[in-house]
Symmetry: C2
Subunit: 413 residues, 2 copies
Amino acid sequence: MSPFFSSRWVPCPDHVTELDGEGLPAGFRAAGVAAGIKASGDPDVGVMVCDAPDATSAARFTASGTQAPPVLLCRERARLDAVRAVVVNSGNANAATGRPGFENAAKMQGAGALVAGVSEDQVAVCSTGVIGVPLPMEKITHGIVAASHALAPDGDAAFSAAIQTTDAFEKRARLQVELPSGTVAITGQAKGAGMIQPGFATLLVFAQTDARLSAETADLLLGVCVKRSFERVSVDGQLSTNDTVILQCSGASGVAVQPETEDELRFGEALDALMRQLALRVVHDGEGARRVGRVVVRGGEPGAVSEVARAVANSPLVKTALYGGDPNWGRIIQAVGAAMPGTAPLPVDIAIEGVQVCARGGVVPHDAAALAEAVARDEVEYEIGLPGDGAETEVFFSDLGHEYVTINADYTT
Amino acid sequence: MSPFFSSRWVPCPDHVTELDGEGLPAGFRAAGVAAGIKASGDPDVGVMVCDAPDATSAARFTASGTQAPPVLLCRERARLDAVRAVVVNSGNANAATGRPGFENAAKMQGAGALVAGVSEDQVAVCSTGVIGVPLPMEKITHGIVAASHALAPDGDAAFSAAIQTTDAFEKRARLQVELPSGTVAITGQAKGAGMIQPGFATLLVFAQTDARLSAETADLLLGVCVKRSFERVSVDGQLSTNDTVILQCSGASGVAVQPETEDELRFGEALDALMRQLALRVVHDGEGARRVGRVVVRGGEPGAVSEVARAVANSPLVKTALYGGDPNWGRIIQAVGAAMPGTAPLPVDIAIEGVQVCARGGVVPHDAAALAEAVARDEVEYEIGLPGDGAETEVFFSDLGHEYVTINADYTT
């Protein structure tokens, strides 16, 4: 596993230590198996079980109007504050499958309950992969049973492998967190490379901790961290039908994280760093991505800074320029103007990697060679100033290159 | 010139005849020359002059908040209902150039007035090309003078060539229109292949007619036609800083088009067909485009059908699937759901080239082979049904392929 905190944009907090290898926090077992859903024969069914009867949890889901049956099932039939087991398949999203799809999601939930020895409403179900194809239920059921026999405290890598689709590399981390009340562990696994601009959640992201959190605290912390991580990234501006984030807390460390304590603050910082770096890894793995951009927008209006940041991050012209290492900042000002119709002439400032190229809407003399060199690096930062101050936001985004086209022009066939 | 009305989506009206070759309506002269703005040595300065002192006109411009100086100049300092001359350069957009850019646009207007022998406020100025680079004014002024010497009644092809940038083919038409009151001509020239999702106008589009229209009638007809053409297309969802559409009417045919007459109806139909086919040609020339899609959305809410149509047309997943000839309709339902957050489960219907693939949100059995064959043709139609009825819209869009990436990854360098 390469170093997890690899971006200059997400420093590892002082009280957090990154661990190598495999191993879940106390109270968790996981597994991933190949059930034959993917034609490639790669792992495609994962199970994550928390053995603590009083486990707490929190979850977030896509805001899509066409939520997939597994998402609808989780929302309608799972106790999201007490999830004990998570059952996931990749290779098929069980989306746009109607009532039969909902029934298949229910069957997955039932099989998960059976193998985990918990009630059905304590099982969350996730699917990811192709849309509009009925789930091969026999394979899935066999996969869930096979995974249950393979459940192990160090099954996080296998689980992580089983949830991937077009991912080029794994997004997994193991963190040791020093809290005033004691040491706890947090692990996380994410999948995702395309159809990524989460609304209220994203992709599939699973996090586990042996800290003891009330369901309310878990929900509060997860909500804040998701807003600062997965809701601030975009690969292609596309909101998935299946995005799901689940945090499970076993409490097996005996370390309790109480509200409004230094424990909560530090635990939150660790979870935040985990989520932000997982989100960045997703962006770095944006289908075929070569470079990652961060756009920071400051101004007087929260709505405007958010619109402008999204417009820049999702502009195919900005993204292809990032891919090409092209310092074409005219596309940035184009995207800014498009996001704020009717405001011309808008006095916008633009800096790229600290080089100011535009002031109050007009070009300023700058070192073109230095700029060209700066935009050819792995991570490129764009700063945009709008009139006023007090509002600020950021979006991390991947470039748009030939590999994205190759991957997506021929996905089902 | 290949046949202009080449799309099944834009039939040529019965009273309209497409003409070959070159030639403007009576009362117009045009020219295009190479002034050295483009490194390629291709033509880059165009001038269009209407010799009728009582010419009328109408115009539309981009809604961008970062409108380029030539757009700001036209809005502030041109009599848009009486434009006699249009001066255009390609190779440099004179955008994000601040106050000096505005002064350069004013110099272009002054030079245009001089060579056309009209007042400055009767000259419209347009620029297209790279953003954020000062205009090479000496070359432009020389170009305008050289073009003035080359002005000719059959200069429309040269003018059309001079306004192009990344265009792969010309977008130009000559129509003869039979009205109850007599025969008139309409010609049109458009440029554009990227940064295209017009807001209130698009790209550079110029149309000329020898019919006599009041400025009010010209404005009314242009407004309606732009809404049905350039506002309904998207290459890459990007609103340009420079989009401009100008209609000029010389009246030299002696045929008057009066409000609320059969003349107006027929003239409007001809202008509509011209604009729609020009818009479609722009989409077909979408940077590197292989295929063009048309998405039609029907439902009960005008806002929702419009959001959904844009979301589908601008989805990089839908566009790469179109490029790949991939019948991956899951991406359509993803885009629909993303455009209507919080409405799950949404009972959406989807048909592709008449093959229904999704009913009330769930997959329906369909002939996969027939579907695969249908999506491999040049034009692909998607129909989406949302709850309710009474609202309907359409968007024409190009695919997203390797050529788009190649063209845009390395545009300035």
